[in-house]
Every structure is written in structure tokens, then in C-alpha cells.
Assembly symmetry: none
Homo-oligomer: 228 residues x 4
DNA sequence: TAATAAACGAGACGGTACGTCGAGTCTTCCA
DNA sequence: TGGAAGACTCGACGTACCGTCTCGTTTATTA
């Protein structure tokens, strides 16, 4: 192959990884638009040219980090205990736990900024990170008893992820109460007696059941209901 | 007042506005992290010092733009025809229409980047722009017949806005189908486009088959309405 | 004037001089082609941009140094005691003394390199340094009793200077013996260290004396002549 | 021997020459301090390592070029017709002719710069190029009828060469008039009203024709004398 | 006829300096 | 005395070469 027969010294894997790690650290420490290639190269013990040889731009570098998985401590699996609502609530909690860590939140914000500035990063970000998270969430919704159809599962997953990202961007903490309300929104629609956020709207519970709609929904709702 | 009695030349309103407009244009044209104060000053016909006199940093400048309303063609009112689902669907459509314009999307993305990088901008962004949009949406949900409680209305509003922002960031178009699914998610919870998708919930079948969109929405709305 | 009415901060004379001095030192220390603008700026306590603002290239910087007189410890006056030969021999000795100092020789070599690489520097070098030296030497020759005509005085001056420069470039020391021979060449032409060296052509002696031109020359020649 | 019995591939003469030719071309095209080993290697179709294997530095490379004779189109023989003055004037003309060619002058200037920057190159330059030229000129002077003694012949030769080099460095053209004056200076010492530059010195004709031998030199001197 | 070893082209490596751009500060003049 | 113009220091940018170091290949010599 033309590839294998290429002459000249081969690319140093060690250096490649050192650069990516340095980039991740810089990203967490200074954010996307303060990224300094000089600093990254120095931290990686590499020459600047070596960085530029493989990554023509800041965004390409960040994109590679994404691809390499350095930036996705987010992709934890969605549990499956049979109760979709409870499962997603648990997953959401873990997710929020990650985002609450200063380093991770800085990283995600930096990544959001990178995605905002660069189409390439945005697409990579979507395809390699949030897309897969989203798909995992959507898959869990599809396999729930209510058999939520594909498009809706996607929309629901994006609503969850989008709301979390939004809170992160505007610096609003994702409190347990908020997560509850979010899950309620996705699982109960308008009938939000909420997973307990609502107080004293006992009637709400009825109405939800009264919906007479899905047994699946019912059970899911019931699952998170404090009082069966 | 001490203000009015201050000696010397008074601040030039003309210049102030020229700076803000130049900033907005730069933001739309180059994004947040490529903002150049030099360019802004030149475009505004102002000295750099004049810019720095009033705005100590890039983010303060952007924040002022936000405050001034240059960046919020987004705050269009939520209609109220009595049908909350239809109203919000309509509002979402308008919203998506704004975001589909290249200049506006560039602006919002730049603003998201600014918010990601700067706490100050993030808070301003929230308080002056998305917060009020969110509140308008939440308010509409609260006044709906289902009397969605406060926390849930907020969560639902953020789910809508967050999903839209997320789509913007990852460069996924907000198709009408997606908006439909989003509204369905918020209004119908688990029952998707129809209860029929659920396993063994006969009642749902009708609505799902009724499918389509407009009709579906109608029925979906009806379906989730606790009190017909 | 358009110049005097220019607005904005005025050029800092302090900085200008610091840059030129740093350049001179760099030139003596590292030579022309190892000049580092970074180092010059740092040594001068100036920003690189300030250097580049005023001097678009290394050669322009060096040329300015020349013009400013930093590089011409060479222009010592040619004495005039009435004996041109003795005067120029003395001047040549002083000249050689300068060139023997390591710092000065490094500077001149650097300058020669700069002149070799850049037309601009070459012309400046000629007009501001060697040209004036040459003219001083030529002037002394013209005012000698032999009234050497203009073009020849120039050629003789360039022969002297050129020979010195050549010795400097090829690292040959300018010994007193060499300086003697050089003066002999210029003042006695073919007759070398003395008319007697010629192969018995008495006429030659006549012609030289017969020139009638100079008793002065005669005397000057006699001065260094071993055999009167 | 140890040399001939060495194992392994032998040095490629083709490559060696290609490198030297590329160096010469680079030198003429860009000058000494802009020499790029990268470019030379590329132009020679050689790897950088091959260049470095044989020439540890830019100056060694240039020195080798000198040694190889690539840089000495200058060493043309000094004619010997019996009239030293006329011979050297002719040689000087040829010499000036070489220096007038842009490529050659660029090469010599580059070489002067190299000599200015590097002791090694300077010594090589002297020993292999100008030294031999100088010696040829000096030898012609010594065999002249006036039997100019060794030291003076050297000084005179260096005066000629130095003056030419100086003119080259400061970008002053070596006009025929200048060459005449130079020859006059060396051959006539103080009495020169200048050979060719002077008009109306009929006597000059005689001297030139008078050729002969010793008288020739004598007469040549006389020829330039305005006053017999 | 192998095995061995040096030189070869290619080109990636850690670095240094380049010349440019922008940030934010500090004058100087004008209105 | 506010504001334009613009020079200042500082630091990062992305590029060009430096001289060194693998790579895989080619060509001699030696076993």
C-alpha cells in the first residue's frame, strides 16, 4: 500500500498522545479561546511544528481530543432495571454529578465554545460524544414498556441533554429538584404531578392515572412516585 | 446630581452606539474568540481607549450588547389562543425560524461561546435573554389548562430551549418533525405521537393512528388534558 | 506641517537609541547573519513590534546604526604636517590600530557582511562611512605638494582602504611592514622601496625627479626611504 | 588501507557534485546568510542527512565550494607581453568584466559575507582563491623590469584586489577610468596625472608602443606624466 | 551467494527565530 | 476634559530552518 511504503521517520505515537493530553489539560484550565499552542507544545515536550504538522488549527486539535475520547467522561451507560423512568433519573444524576465537577464542567464548556466556533468540532462533538450519549438515552426510551417511537425518543433525549447543557452554560446548578422536574416533563408530559417536586397536588396524581393512557406510562410514573 | 454637574465633555452616545453595533457585527462575522478590539474601534471610528474606558474586557462588551438588546431577536411573545400545545408549537416554529437565519445563528453561537468562557456573560445572558424567554414559555405552560406547576413549567421550558440550543450548537437542523416530537415530548410524556405505541394500551392506538401532525397534536393535547 | 500636526503618541527617542545600541552590541557579539531581532528587542527593553515599526528589516536596522555613527570609530582625521606620506602612514597606523581591536574588527566584518547582502546597507555604508574616510584620505593626497589629480587621489584612497578591508576579511594581520609597503606602493609606484632597485635604468630616476612635481613628493619619499 | 577497505556503500560522487552545485546556485541566488540547507538538499535531490554527513556547517559547505573551484571564475592568468603595466591593466579589465556579471558579483559578495562571518571560510577563501590571484599579480610585478621587491609586490597586488573588492561591496562600478587611475596609482605613485583619464598626453602613445622591456615600464610611467 | 554495513531519500522530531497581529496601557493633540 | 490617533510592552500566532533522529532502500565489501 502507499501507506505502508511511505518512507521517512514514522509518526511518534508517544508525542501524539502527549499533545492530546496537554490539550485536554489546557482546555480544562484555560478554556477554548485561551488555548495556546505554544503552551500545549511546551507541556507536551513537543515542538510547535509537530503540533501544526498534524493539526492545522485549534479546532482540529480539539476535535481530535474529542475523537480520542479524552473529553467524554460523559458517556456512562444508561442502566436498565426495567423501570425506564427510574433508570434515566439515575443516569441523569450521574450525568449531573460529572458536570458538577469543576474540571469536567470547564471541559464541557470549553468544548461547547469550540463547537460554537467551529463547524468541524461541532460535527465531531455530535457524532462522537453527545450523539452516542443521546442514542443511549433514546435507546433506553425505546426499549421501555411504552415503546416510545424513534423520533420521539430522540427528541426526549435531546431535551434532557439540551436542558443539562443549557444549565451548564448559564451557570445554573442542576439541582435534584430540577432533575426531577425534567424527568417528569419527559415522562409525564403535561400531567406533571412531578416526581415529588409538586407538593400537595394530590389531584395531579389522579389526573395522570386518569389519563387512562399508557399502562407503560403509568408504571413508569408509579415507579418514581414516592407514594404508590 | 453629581452626574449632571460633572465637568468636561460628556460621554458621546453616538460613539457608544457605534461601538455596540460594531461589536455585534464583529460577533456575527468572526465569532467570539476572534473578536478584535482594534477592529471594533476602527469600525466604530473610535479610539481603542474609548472602548476600554467603558468596557474593561471583551466579555463586558459582549454583555453590554446582550443587555442592549442587540442580540435578542429571539424574544418574541408566546401566543395565547387557548391551546397551549398549539401556541408553543407556533412559538417554537418562529424561534426555529430565527435560528435558521445564518446571521442570527452565528450571533447566538458566538454568544454561547462567550457564555461558555465567561461567568459574567453567562449570567447576563441568562438574566437578560434566555431567562426571560424561558419565563415566557413557562408562563404559558402555567396558564394552560393543565396548570402545570411552576418547577415543571420551568423544566419544560428549559427542555425546549435547551434542545433548540443543542441543535444549534451541533449543527443539526431543527426540522418541523423534530419540533413536533419535541412538543410531543413535553406535552405527552411517554405516549409519544400516540398512546398506541405502548404495549397493550388499546386506548392509545387511536391517537397514534390518527397520527399525522396537526390532528395528532390536537388529539395529543386533548389526550393529555386532564379535564376535557 | 503635516508632520508636526500628527496626532497620537510621539516616537520615543529613548527607545530608539536603546534599540540602536543593542543592535551595535549584537552586531559585535554575533555578527550580521546571527543578529536576532528578538534578542535586540529584549536587550533594548522594547517590544519586537517597536523594532519592526521603524526598521522593516535587519539591514535597515544596521543601516541606521551606520548613519547614527555607532559603527564608525574609523573616521579619525588625517593629520597634516606638510609631509603627506608621513601623514598617511600615521593615519594608516591609527586605522590599523582600530581594526586590530577584536570588537571593532568584528563590527566592521559584520558591516561588510551586511553590505554584501544588502544594497541599501552598502550604499549607506559607502556614503556615510567609508566614503567620507576615503574622501579625507583623497583630500590629503590632493593637497600634497605633488598635487595628485582628483581621480587618482580617489583611486589611491580606495587602494589603501580596500587593501585594509581585504586584509581584515581574509584574516591577515596588517603588520607595520605591510603598511610600509602599502604606502610605498601608493607614493612611489614602481620604484618600490627605492629608485635603486630598478635594473640600471637611470632614466627612471630622472623621470621621477623630472616630474618636477614634487619636491614634496621627493621629500616624502625620502622620509621613508632607507637610502637618501 | 583503512579507507579503501571500508565496507558498505561508497560515497556517491554524483550526489556530492549535485550538492555543491546547488550550494553555488543558492549562494548566487540568496546570498550567504539566507542559505538554506533544506533548499540545497531539495535542489540536489539529496537528503539533509547526506549534506550534514559531509559538511558539518554552512561555512564548511561554502568552503568546499571554494576549494572545488566553483567560485573562482576569477583566476584568469595575468598576461605577460613584456609590459607589466599594460598587462595588469588588461588583467584588471578582465577581472572587472567578471565582477560586472550579476551572477558572479552576487557570488563574490556572498563569499565575502561568508568570509566575514567565518574564520574558516576566510582562510580558505584567501588560500585557495584570492591568495593565488594575488600571487599571480605579485609575480607579474616582480618579473617586471623594475624588479619590485616581494613585499611591495604583494602590497600592490592587495591594493589592486582590495580596491576592486571594495568597489564591489559598496556597489560602485569599476569604470575604465577608475581602473586607469588604479593602475596609475600602483605604477606611478605620486606623479600620476592619470594615464587614460588625462587627455592630450601625446607622449603616452610612445610609451605604449615603446613597449620593449625595462624602458617600457619606465616610459609607461613617463607616458602618464603630463610634463616631460 | 549470503550476510553485513555504510550511504542513500525521505521526512518527523525538539527547537529557535522569524515577522505579524492583537491586547491593554500610555501619551499627545484636537475640539 | 473627553475622544481620535497612535506608539508603547508584551505575548501568541503560524512558518521556515536548524541539526538530529529514525525509517526503509540501495549498493558495496567481506565472509
Amino acid at each position: 500500500m502507499s501507506d505502508s511504503s511511505r518512507r521517512g521517520r514514522t509518526r511518534s505515537e508517544t508525542t501524539r498522545l502527549a499533545i492530546l493530553e496537554a490539550t485536554r489539560d489546557e482546555l480544562a484550565a484555560h478554556g477554548y479561546d485561551k488555548l495556546s499552542i505554544d503552551r500545549i507544545a511546551a507541556a507536551a515536550g513537543a515542538g510547535k511544528q509537530t503540533v501544526y504538522r498534524w493539526y492545522p488549527s485549534k479546532s482540529a486539535l480539539v476535535a481530535e481530543c474529542v475523537l480520542e475520547g479524552y473529553l467524554s467522561p460523559l458517556t456512562n451507560p444508561v442502566p436498565d432495571t426495567g423501570d425506564a423512568r427510574r433508570d434515566l433519573r439515575a443516569w441523569l444524576d450521574t450525568f449531573a454529578g460529572h458536570l458538577a465537577r469543576p474540571r469536567t464542567s470547564a471541559l464541557i464548556r470549553a468544548l461547547a465554545a469550540a463547537a460554537a466556533e467551529s463547524d468541524d468540532v461541532a460535527v465531531r462533538f455530535y457524532e462522537d460524544v453527545t450523539g452516542s450519549v443521546e442514542e443511549a438515552v433514546a435507546a433506553r426510551l425505546r426499549t421501555a414498556q411504552d415503546r416510545r417511537p424513534g423520533a420521539m425518543a430522540t427528541a426526549a433525549a435531546e431535551a434532557l441533554i439540551g436542558a443539562m447543557l443549557y444549565r451548564l452554560l448559564v451557570r445554573q446548578p442542576a439541582t435534584p429538584e430540577f432533575l426531577d422536574s425534567l424527568i417528569d416533563t419527559v415522562f409525564s408530559g403535561t400531567r406533571g404531578t412531578g416526581g415529588g417536586t409538586d407538593s400537595g397536588t394530590g389531584g395531579g396524581t389522579d389526573s395522570s392515572t386518569g389519563g387512562g393512557t399508557g399502562g407503560g406510562t403509568e408504571r413508569a410514573t408509579a415507579a418514581t412516585d414516592p407514594a404508590p
